[in-house]
C-alpha cells in the first residue's frame, strides 16, 4: 500500500538513511572503545547527510560531511589519541542505583511525547506555509543560491555574530589547552 502511494526510490533512500543513522547512533553508545564510538558517529553523520540530500538540502549535506565528519570527528579522534584513552575502557559500574533504568524510562517518555505532539498538532507548527514572513523556497533556483541569499540578507546579523563566536571559541580553546610552564622549564 505504501509502495503505491510513494515512489520506491524515495523509500529506499529513507530506509538507507534510517539504517545508517540508527545503527551508528547505537554504535556510539555501545562501543567500549572511544575510537569505535567516533567511527560510529561518522556513520550517523553520513546517514543524516543522506537524509538532507533526500530533502533537497544539498549545501547542508556537503557541510555535514565537511564540517562534522571532516573536522569535528577528526578533532574527537585527535583528542582520544592525544589523551591515550583509546585502550582504557571505563568500568561499567553504576554509581547511582538504577540510573540506567531511570534514563531509559525518561527517554521513552520524551520520545513518546515528541511523537505524540507531532502527530496530534499538525506537525507542531500548525502552519502549512510560513513563506509570507520568511524567505520562501523558490522553485527553479539552486539550493546553495537560496541559502546564501537568506544567510546574507535575512540572517546577516546572526552570520556576523557567528564570526565573533568562532574567534572566541578559538581563543578559549587555546587558553584552556595551553600548559603554563614552570619557572625552571623557562630557564632551561
Amino acid at each position: 500500500m505504501i509502495a503505491v502511494a510513494y515512489a520506491w526510490p524515495s523509500i529506499v533512500v529513507f530506509a538507507t538513511a534510517a539504517l545508517l543513522i540508527l545503527v551508528g547512533a547505537v554504535g556510539v553508545l555501545a562501543a567500549h572503545n572511544p575510537v569505535h564510538s567516533a567511527l560510529s558517529l561518522i556513520m550517523t553523520l553520513f546517514g543524516v547527510a543522506v537524509a538532507f540530500v533526500a530533502q533537497s538540502a544539498d549545501f547542508l549535506a556537503a557541510v555535514e560531511i565537511i564540517v562534522y565528519a571532516g573536522a569535528i570527528v577528526v578533532l574527537f579522534l585527535f583528542v582520544i589519541m592525544f589523551l591515550g584513552v583509546d585502550r582504557r575502557d571505563p568500568v561499567r559500574v553504576e554509581p547511582l542505583v538504577g540510573q540506567r533504568a531511570f534514563a531509559g524510562v525518561g527517554v521513552v517518555i520524551t520520545v513518546a511525547g515528541l511523537i505524540t505532539l507531532m502527530a496530534r498538532s499538525h506537525w507542531v507548527t500548525g502552519a502549512v506555509s510560513v513563506s509570507s514572513k520568511g524567505a520562501a523556497i523558490a522553485t527553479g533556483q539552486g539550493n546553495v543560491k537560496q541559502l546564501g541569499t537568506a544567510v546574507f540578507t535575512t540572517y546577516l546579523f546572526a552570520f556576523e555574530a557567528t564570526a565573533a563566536l568562532l574567534i572566541i571559541a578559538v581563543v578559549g580553546a587555546v587558553l584552556l589547552a595551553r600548559r603554563e610552564r614552570t619557572q625552571s622549564e623557562v630557564e632551561e
Partner: protein, 101 residues
Amino acid sequence: MNVPAAWYLVLAALLFGVGAFGLLTRRSALIMFMCVELMLNAVNLTFVTFSRTLGDIGGQAIVFFVMVVAAAEVTVGLGIVVSVFRRRSSTSVDELSEMKG
C-alpha cells in the same frame, strides 16, 4: 513523490532519544560530547524536514548556524576535557566532584 515528512520526524525523534540515553548513562566526557552531537543532528534533521514541508529556506539557515555553534562547542569542550585530563588522568565526569555542595 517523496516519503512523508512524518517518517523523517519520527527518525529524528528516535535519534534524539538515543543521544539523550547515552548522555544520561555514559560517563566518559568524550562519549557524552558525541551524544550531544547526536542530539544536535536530530534537531538539524527536524529543521530540514520542516524546511521542506513548509517551503521556507529559514529552517536550513538555522541548521547552518547550529553547525557553527556545534563546532565552537566541541572546540571549547574538548579543550576543557584536555585540561581536566592533565590534572586527573581521567575523562570520567564522576571524578569531578570537588565542587560538590
